[in-house]
Symmetry: C2
Subunit: 349 residues, 2 copies
């Protein structure tokens, strides 16, 4: 990069002090009583020279970067990609930049990213925490760094957060299946200690319990998080073979649902004739698949907007930090063709 222009150059050219230039740049001319003539001359030269203040210097001096850090699980994933997008748009409306990074659910990467964000003097962070992040989150609180937890919680830590009512989503989805006459519902989830997966399982179990049903261990499949797509498909196929009695399937996440459809195709099971299907999270595939898939859709837009607004509030109002606020949003049950009222049996409605 060729020699950059600094406010010193502007000041010299115009024969004024850098103080004056700085005031004009920061829109404080009036407040500081800089003459209109001077203000205009400075502004004109800035445009002519294409000057832009060096942000490293600004950050070093003020400690504020007008940047927020967004630490999510995976920027390549539909849910998080859209969250990131909306947060970016909302933040930029308020004059903030966003610094993204993906953890891939690795504690090490998450810790590293939090550290990097702190060093980069972000004004605050939105974080989807990984499991072992409790200490780092506590440190953030101790250090008075504004932050909000997104999508999931850390057990025993009371922090600002925006999450989905995962319990309700799973409960509603399960209840919908029961009401439509399904009796043998398989639950397919990932092996994880993430709070939201627990909640989904609880919602599922409670909805069954409400009708005096319990789930058998065999009909509960949990796949390891780190399996490849092919391995997941294979695991589900095996599970289907072992449980021919199932008349409905509950997929606890978006991508499990996608792999599940592949497994069902391979197993030559027709939806909903042979087996009904519901899934957490919506996507294009579920909407356009034949048959379309019943889902509990996350209000992505609201989640993102609530998170960025909450963070900005915390940044601007120090008090908020001491009095954490939890925002819990309800998913939307979208009934589609993969789980119609069961016709093959008598029903008491």
């Amino acid at each position: 990069m060729t020699k950059k222009i600094s406010i010193k150059d502007i000041a010299k050219e115009l024969n004024i002090s850098i103080t004056t230039v700085s005031f004009v740049i920061n829109g404080k001319s009036e407040e500081m009583g800089i003459s209109l003539a001077t203000t205009n001359r400075v502004n004109e030269l800035i445009i002519e020279w294409g000057f832009n203040p060096n942000s490293a210097a600004r950050i070093l001096r003020t400690g504020k970067s007008k940047t927020i850090g967004l630490i999510i699980e995976d920027i390549g994933n539909y849910f998080f990609g859209n969250i990131a997008k909306i947060i970016e748009v909302e933040a930029s409306k308020k004059g903030y930049n966003v610094f993204f990074s993906s953890t891939d659910n690795s504690d090490i990467r998450a810790k590293d990213l939090i550290q990097k964000m702190k060093n980069s003097s972000v004004d605050g962070m939105i974080i989807t925490p990984t499991k072992g992040l409790a200490d780092d989150i506590k440190l953030l609180e101790k250090q008075n760094v504004p932050f909000v937890l997104l999508d999931r919680l850390i057990p025993d830590i009371d922090a600002n957060h925006v999450i989905l009512n995962n319990y309700k989503g799973a409960f509603d989805l399960t209840n919908h299946l029961i009401k439509n006459g399904y009796q043998q519902i398989g639950f397919i989830s990932i092996f994880s200690d993430l709070s939201q997966m627990d909640e989904r399982e609880k919602g599922f179990v409670d909805a069954l319990a409400k009708d005096g049903k319990t789930i058998l261990d065999e009909t509960m499949l949990k796949v390891r998080f780190d399996l490849s797509g092919k391995e997941i498909v294979f695991a589900i196929e095996k599970y289907l073979k072992k449980n021919p009695q199932l008349d409905a399937l509950f997929f606890a996440t978006n991508y499990l649902g996608v792999y599940g459809l592949e497994a069902l195709q391979n197993a030559n099971k027709k939806i909903p004739k042979d087996i009904a299907v519901v899934s957490f999270d919506d996507n294009d595939l579920f909407r356009l698949y034949t048959p379309s898939i019943t889902v509990a859709a996350q209000p992505i837009h609201d989640i993102a907007v609530e998170a960025i607004n909450l963070l900005l509030n915390i940044i601007h109002d120090g008090d908020k930090k001491n009095n954490p606020e939890g925002i819990v949003l309800d998913p939307e049950l979208i009934e589609r063709n993969s789980s119609p009222k069961k016709k093959t049996m008598l029903m008491v409605d």
Copy 2:
């Protein structure tokens, strides 16, 4: 944020100079002949205190940020989300952070982002240019800012770039349809001056021409970029009604294909019985749809890796800037069930 630790604090605590501390931090102890004893004492205290150098100060001093800027069209989109993800991973392997931002194909936003990135002292940028970005790109060249253009070119500008061979992708896809006996192929694209859309159209037209075919204006649908999903679906439905003679459809982008499937469902056209379908870009829906959709898939991983490696080369080797390199990657034709050999007519193969 409570008072931060600086190298001054470390130096004071250990009764040494900040120079020494700085050398240790930057791994120059040996080179600078700092005693092992001192080095160890510094390193221990750094860990004990959890010290991390302030990056704003570092950037201000060195002009290097170890950060690269990634300016893409839309982080929420499948293609770009995955590109971003891979670039992030590759960059972090080399010790670089990535600063993302989406342009939404707006010139104004793109210009603004380039400016912001420059102010943030990124060491280089990867950019998917919008249409009116020629001047800004030229300025980047003049200012010696390392950058590479991704996914599309700017007419008349010779710059480092990594793009897809859009021509070949469209040609192959069209040729595949012709070889399988389709005669009346509709082309559905967006109204755009983006170079890659031109290339796709050329590939399509040339593949037809090779067989002495030409495309009629009526069978070429271009939708406006800023239409909503519903409007696009509606436009395609109208087009289908107006062109009942079509026996195949070529969708020039991923999302047009997705909306196209919705339109075909609404129009009650069965694939491939009533009409065959091929699309540019792959995704989950195309892979799992019934029938699965034939596509020209972009080698997302390779595109991302080539782009970041090229940029890093340019950053480390100033010469590269003066001798722009263009990397053109071939898409992969994935033949699936939406475009089988046409059975209803005699064919000379």
